[in-house]
């Protein structure tokens, strides 16, 4: 990051992807953004620009955002070619104007991936992630049926590693950063978080097989080990989890070929 401690205001040229709707053609449009405080966040800069556009009678730039503290995973801009911009381990909402120099041309695009179609301007449809979660990203624990919490002992290193994986905020930067638009880091984080815990063992094989299968179906690409995903991840989730998932997937595939599925509960008295 080219962080500077200067309090001098800066001006930049913003080159923004504008696209009216999912079926429309998009294009870059230039805007001048002037007299910006370096302490302003990147999204606040867009807020101010949008207000200026509104007053001028133009349509503001649609962009996704919510918590503005790097935890909800909503914001999703590719800034100067990097998902979430120039920072390391931060989301778009945690980028500040002090990362840019006076006179810079800053290119802003939506996260690009076949499985994340653009809805409008900088907003993409990431429901594919929810579909993957639906396929197996859970431990079945019906409300009210849980044993006492301390009856399940979990070694601290396992709990900590599961937590490392669980920090994923489901933003999709890993997909946008990958030249194959692979969702392997996301799925690996989910599979590892649950698979590392004793509670997650019962459904472990089914989970990894089903989530990976769904990921493939939804049009995400494969991993070719460039690890751009980890570099772009706002939570810096390690690509080691991908290796862990591949191991799980291999074992589950092997085991499932020896197992015959039960035809279901027979009931009866």
């Amino acid at each position: 990051m080219v962080a500077s401690n200067s309090t001098q205001p800066i001006s930049i040229t913003l080159r923004v992807w504008r696209q009216a709707g999912p079926q429309e053609a998009g294009k870059f449009v230039d805007y001048q953004s002037k007299d910006l405080s370096p302490n302003m966040s990147f999204l606040e800069m867009l807020d101010v620009l949008n207000d200026e556009l509104t007053v001028k009678g133009e349509e503001p730039i649609a962009f996704a955002h919510d918590c503005r503290e790097g935890i909800c995973g909503t914001c999703s801009c590719t800034i100067n070619g990097k998902p979430h911009g120039p920072g390391v381990g931060v989301a778009t909402c945690q980028v500040y104007m002090r990362s840019f120099r006076d006179g810079d041309v800053v290119v802003v695009e939506p996260f690009r991936a076949k499985a994340f179609p653009v809805l409008k301007d900088l907003i993409t449809d990431r429901t594919a992630f929810d579909k993957i979660q639906e396929a197996g990203g859970f431990i079945t624990a019906r409300t009210g049926s849980a044993p006492d919490a301390n009856s399940i002992l979990i070694p601290k290193p396992d709990a900590d590693l599961a937590m490392d994986a669980a920090t994923c905020i489901q933003c999709g930067a890993c997909v946008a950063a990958c030249k194959n638009a692979s969702a392997m880091l996301f799925v690996a984080a989910k599979v590892s978080h649950l698979g590392l815990l004793p509670q997650g063992q019962v459904e472990r094989d089914k989970r990894v097989l089903s989530m990976v299968h769904t990921m493939d179906e939804l049009g995400f690409g494969n991993c070719t080990n460039y690890y751009e995903c980890s570099a772009a991840c706002p939570k810096l989730i390690s690509h080691d989890f991908i290796a862990r998932m591949n191991r799980d997937y291999f074992k589950a595939t092997l085991r499932s070929s020896f197992k015959s599925e039960s035809l279901g509960a027979s009931g009866g008295a």
Binding site: P60, A64, R68, C72, G73, M163
Partner: protein, 640 residues
Amino acid sequence: MATLDSKVPSGPLADKWRKHKADIKLVNPANKRKYEVIVVGAGLAGASAASSLADLGYKVKSFVFHDSPRRAHSIAAQGGINGAKNYQNDGDSVHRLFYDTVKGGDYRSREANVHRLAEVSVNIIDQCVAQGVPFAREYGGLLSNRSFGGAQVSRTFYARGQTGQQLLVGAYSSLMRTVGAGTVGLHPQCEMLDLVIVGGQAKGIIVRNLVTGAIERYSADAVVLATGGYGNVFNLSTYARGSNTTAIWRAYRRGACFANPCYTQIHPTCIPVSGEYQSKLTLMSESLRNDGRIWVPKKAGDRLKDPNSIAEEDRDYYLERMYPAFGNLCPRDIASRAAKRVCDEGRGVGTSGLGVYLDFSDAIRRLGENGVRERYGNLFDIYHEITAESAYKVPMRIFPAVHYTMGGLWVDYNLMSNVPGLFVLGEANFSDHGANRLGASALMQGLADGYFVIPYTVGDYLASQKPGSRPSADGPEFKAAEENVLSMTRRFLENKGKEPVSHYHKRLGKIMWEFCGMTRTREGLTKALQLIPALREEFWANVRVPGSADTINQSLEQAGRVADFLELGELMCRDALTREESCGGHFRAEHQYPDGECKRDDEKFGHVAAWEFQGSDKEPLRNIEPLNYESVKMSVRNYK
């Protein structure tokens, strides 16, 4: 006038919930699938309610305005979740958690609800662990606990600095499991814009699909609102930008009473505003006050000087001076008000003058820079990221910010509002935190309501509704509600105003912060009650909402939310003006003890004020639910 029957069961406090569950009506399994329940919001309360109801066999429809249910703002809670497990063997119990919560709420919550909350807190921890929430562990594999404000035991469970996200991921994973099983229909990017009442009961909602712009009608046998708090009425807050009051406000306009709207919590340690463009305030954990010392210069003339150049004798460590016993660790509301006072005196630091120093130089001398880094490194990093300043070298600047709202829609013991069939959960209701919420209790309440209360009480209501009696969404009430939504949209888009929506939101926020913030006075509130209606009029005359209704239109979304805030703000001021006492987060300057503590008036105000809408141009009606404390004796809240 609305009937406010709290429906608190009779009998000893500790037996009420058990007895109530035994008395409650059940719906037989074959009938459950004939009922449809709408759940709006998918934070901790909404997601846990939707999946639990679906597992029982009801058909559930879940609506969120976010693109995924996992984005709800429960996700941002850092500290932890309370549970009366007594895993530390330090004498904790359900009764102690109950008592701490009632006292923390300054004796303005409903006793029976709080006791139930404490009872089910232990089940919540079990449920979350079973789902795979990676709580912090000790080396032996047991769960770890930490202590939190307002308690003398360690009962807070946590997952690094992101307990909220981990609990929400747990609830979300359950929700997605039920979505995958086909028992919950998920409607992301759909914002509820009206409540439909048929025959006096809540039977449906009108939503706007935020992607296509389509206005859609949905009918159901019951409606559950779990749509969070309304702190963004202040514009600047620690809430997510999208957090809003629209769902509960439109329900209020349809007859649901709004209880104690003036109860807001202001957190003392947030990063100050840096400019007019500011959109969001970031919380710095309260734990920093364990080692940081808070001060401002004694002389107003020093406020822009380099803090390190200000001599020790020219510094005013005002909390240590005013509250020698608790010092920098005095309760949230007291610390917040003291910061405001010194800034009002012109001694606030930073260019805006709205900030105080939180200084770690003593701690660094005592523990070394690495010692401080070990304890607070991640917080110092966040501070650096936002301000580009190193708190190891210069003191942090902090200022209070709006953080939570204790008020919300009125609900009875079953979490049902005064509109039959309308249930309200989590921060959106009013019942459990009284006039002030303790740390690590918001997550607890959201999950208690969703996992362990609503699955019983919705069934009790549905048992009184004939299966299959759900009205069709083609009925006249649905048509009228849809027309109401459409006419508002048309009005916005056809308005040929000049100013963007944010202009009015900012101005409203300033009025609310000045007159209905940390310290409230009769004079100020009276003034706000003139300023807000005038601002609202200006908003409707001069707001500009660009774009069209049939696509993503964030200006249109925001316009509707701000229109509601402009009405809610007035109600908050009215409530604050009428409540002639100080309690918890509601501080009326006229009602204080000489040491600046809240002076309650239990005789006149030991009640819930539940406001009832009477029409756009009429004053709302103030209904009262008396608070009867059977078990706890109301006393002066004292942490000294």
